[in-house]
């Protein structure tokens, strides 16, 4: 599977323990473990206290248009 056919993951990170978990980007990866590794490498701009990824297709919109997924940066 080429990288562009791989599923997309949304990346979230928290800058301070008392701050929000914010959406910071998105990546494609062949599986969950690679997604986590790839996100950690790509979004290393700040010393986050927490970072996690979730598959893009697991998100359901409450506000906004459904055809634009949360991510895509």
């Amino acid at each position: 599977m080429s990288i562009e056919e791989s599923p997309m993951y949304e990346v979230f990170a928290r800058e301070k323990l008392d701050g929000p978990l914010s959406h910071i980007g998105c990546i494609r990866a062949a599986n969950r473990e690679l997604a986590a590794a790839h996100a950690g490498m790509t979004y290393s701009e700040k010393p986050w206290v927490e970072m996690c990824v979730a598959p893009t297709d697991s998100f359901l919109r409450c506000i906004g248009d459904d055809k634009d997924v949360i991510g895509h940066v």
Binding site: S2, I24, T42, S44, E45, G64, D68, H72, V73
Partner: protein
């Protein structure tokens, strides 16, 4: 480039929304012309990030110590991330970043020629960071602040944060080497003499030789070439004054700003054989053409990048 006056009714309506301060979030709101200018901007920017990476790679062999090697590696990693950010956006336009990086004809890579001159010393690398990451950041910072397409603003937050880090890293070490020894001080000045004109010419043609672009019409950016150039010049010269190295400028008390020396040739075309400037005034047409021809590492730098992309075989 078409003038703002020949906009279709559809384009005029979009421009009106943008001018009223609305940010565009949904691609369904695009007109073909808006889509085209955004896509072109992203393609140029994303490919440009890749060329910084192949350039920075040549600095690796010149690094004096482990710390310097780590700094180069992390700036290469950052540039990959910058291409990634804009690549994820390009995907929404149906453009493959993978294609743009690994299957583009190396002769057609969009780049600044300076990115195709190998780095000759670590001092040259840090001076280039101090002056050229500073130049590049004004371009991307303008888009983060002013772009009418909201996702592009968001995508650039990470990029601009890191570009600022790059030029501060460069500034710190430029100052360090300026004060370290007679020899390193001379090396800093030599590097500045080579790099400074690249910074000054970074933004291309002056405004009076340019018609209104779709980038400005649709608020992809808000700062003109001359505006960015002046921001860069003031900032670079202030830095030069603080550290002590020479630039071909002087502070004009009446205008309260730095200006180029009268005899400074603008624009110039670099001599790819001698890896230096001939200090002869050229034309903007020749200069822009020299961007297309590129520097001595074209096409080898991109050929190497493309050879070493293992794709399927990696897994």
């Amino acid at each position: 480039m078409p003038q703002a006056s020949d906009l279709s009714a559809e384009d005029q309506a979009l421009v009106a929304r943008i001018q009223s301060g609305e940010l565009i979030e949904d691609m369904a709101d695009f007109t073909p012309r808006y889509r085209a200018v955004l896509q072109k901007t992203l393609e140029i920017a994303a490919q440009g990030e890749v060329t910084v990476l192949t350039w920075a790679y040549t600095a690796y062999a010149t690094a004096p110590d482990l710390g310097a090697k780590i700094a180069i590696s992390s700036s290469i990693q950052d540039e990959v991330g910058h291409a990634h950010q804009q690549g994820m956006l390009l995907e929404r336009f149906g453009v493959s970043m993978q294609e743009k990086a690994f299957n583009e004809d190396p002769m057609r890579y969009i780049s600044f020629p300076i990115m195709e001159f190998p780095v000759r010393s670590y001092i040259e690398f840090v001076v280039a960071q101090a002056l050229l990451d500073r130049a590049g950041r004004y371009t991307t910072y303008d888009i983060e602040l002013h772009c009418s397409f909201a996702p592009y603003r968001r995508a650039l937050k990470k990029i601009n944060f890191e570009e600022a880090f790059h030029f501060r890293h460069g500034a710190y070490w430029t100052e360090y080497y300026w004060n370290y020894s007679e020899e390193t001080r001379q090396a800093v000045q030599d590097a500045v003499d080579w790099i400074f004109p690249w910074g000054y010419q970074w933004y291309g043609r002056p405004d009076h030789l340019k018609s209104m672009t779709d980038q400005m019409t649709f608020s992809i950016r808000a700062w003109s070439n001359d505006t960015m150039r002046d921001k860069w010049l003031q900032s670079a010269c202030k830095f030069a004054d603080r550290v002590g190295f020479d630039t071909p400028t002087q502070f004009n008390e009446d205008q309260d700003r730095y200006v180029l020396n009268k005899d400074y040739p603008v624009p110039m075309v670099a001599n790819t054989e001698t890896h230096a400037w001939d200090w002869q005034t050229s034309t903007w047409d020749d200069m822009i053409n020299s961007w297309k021809t590129g520097g001595p590492m074209r096409p080898s730098a991109y050929e190497r990048l493309q050879r070493e992309e293992w794709g399927e075989a990696l897994w």
